[in-house]
């Protein structure tokens, strides 16, 4: 149960049940869709960006608890950030869920609330779930129109 509780932390379960910013943005400046063929998770991320600042970000889709909570918490973490900051956070988040920052408390503190995803690193097959929203976000910011897949 130890590893499980670490994976399915209360915060994650809460965001899964009541995802924040789970809506469509009309006339977004950019959007992209992502798909995880392994479990069928599908997500679309919408963004309103002006002056390189993320004014609004939201998502729609269906997925497992990890991917839904990750998308929900991503939107909260990124509102008001610059695009460059967002990409930096993605880099740190990716390091966290792949276990690269294990034992590095300052790296985890840097991520704020997103640090709850640290438990994912013990479940390698779930890394794709946790990072799907982020990959999709990056694709939207890059202006790519192709659906991202995690394969």
């Amino acid at each position: 149960m130890g590893d499980l509780r670490e994976l399915y932390q209360e915060v994650i379960l809460d965001h899964n049940k009541c995802p924040r910013n789970c809506r469509r943005i009309d006339n977004p400046t950019c959007e992209a869709s992502g798909y995880n063929p392994l479990c069928g998770d599908k997500i679309t991320v919408f963004l309103t960006v002006s002056d390189r600042i993320i004014k609004d970000v939201s998502f729609e889709g269906s997925g497992c608890a990890i991917s839904t909570a990750s998308a929900s918490m991503m939107t909260q973490a990124l509102k008001g950030k610059t695009v460059d900051e967002a990409l930096k956070i993605f880099g740190r988040f990716h390091d966290l869920v792949t276990g690269k920052t294990q034992g590095d408390n300052s790296a985890q503190e840097n991520l704020g609330k997103l640090a709850v995803f640290t438990g994912v690193s013990k479940f390698p097959v779930r890394v794709k779930c946790a990072s799907l929203a982020w990959h999709t976000l990056k694709s939207a910011l890059d202006g790519s129109s192709e659906t991202v897949t995690t394969e």
Binding site: L4, C39, G40, T68, R126
Partner: protein
Amino acid sequence: MSAGLTPAATPSGADRIVPVRSFDVEAIRRDFPILASTVNGKPLVYLDNAATSQKPRPVIETIMRYYAAENANIHRGVHWLSELATAKHEAARVKVQHFINAAAAREIIFVRGATEAINLVAQSWGRANLRPGDEILVTGMEHHSNIVPWQIVCEATGAILRAAPFSDRGQLLLGEFDRMLTGKTRLVAVTHVSNALGTINPVHRIVQAAHDRGALALIDGCQAIPHMPVDVRELDCDFYVFSGHKVFGPTGIGALYGKEKLLDAMPPYQGGGDMIKSVSFEKTTYNDLPYKFEAGTPHIAGAIGLGAALDYIQDIGMRRINEYENQLLTRATNAISEIPGVRIIGTPPCKASLISFVIDGIHPHDIGTILDQEGIAIRTGHHCAQPVMERLGVPATARASFAFYNTHQEADALVRAIRKVIEVFN
């Protein structure tokens, strides 16, 4: 839910743990070394048999012995070892023949698996026989491997692929099927047992209907062969395909059964060594059946291992296996049906020992992770049957699939673990 669900021929009640007459599951389990493993500190409960099955010692030892003492290329050596390997390989073909009661060993083509078998028929028979406007009829519950090869050959020939629908319970709608089976239908390709729902299709009736309309019938037997007796002559199907790894044999080997007359008339699928009688730049003569369809050095160890697997389950007896598994299915089905918030996907009257399910508000992927922590291996996802998921409006399911080495205790462990999943999420 699933009121009235009565798996085929199951006389036993839910809470009777009376084992099938002299079915010594503990002794059987000792034949499967992997079943003694622990996963995440818990005894392995392997319920992913529809994806692939575990291998008994006789299969493992047969393969070891082959490589340790019998290995040589076949059909092309005058030396002793080559003759031995050839004899073993051909003996395995006879085992497959007898297992499905084919008329002759030359009606058994060794292939990599069901996927290759279906591609072989689609490319060889399909390209030679399909004309624009001809139709191939499948069902909505096919594995991708019984859809995509037909799409490819339809694209090449102008033929049309059609899919007969199934009910909300996962039962093929025979009326619809009959309506879609027309004079244009050249081939019907239907799964014997659905890997996503567990449905046992009335394949005997389907083959007859196809023949009445002048169409051929191919049966995908992947999920039937490990669970029930199959007699291709009684079915009168034209082709029957299955994979060795799902029937306790090695990966990379499978069989295509085809009626001799049909196989004889079909052009080769791949060219190379062994499939020819003579080669010159002016004229090449193809070999006889079954070798015409077996180009190149085959998976010799795989075929011999598959033969050992079929011997093993035939010793136990397919009827007894079927009877025992039906007990497991009934027990697990009844217990899972009682858990609030859990819905079984696929509740047709005739079902193999496989349970697809979803839990309200919990994604199957999360169910899989939590069960894995309990040492329970199940499959989650679309099971290579995306049209089934779409039809039933679920993105994915969790699927527990049983084999004859699973126990009543393991079925109970599954039920407890499902309850735990709900606990974690509440």
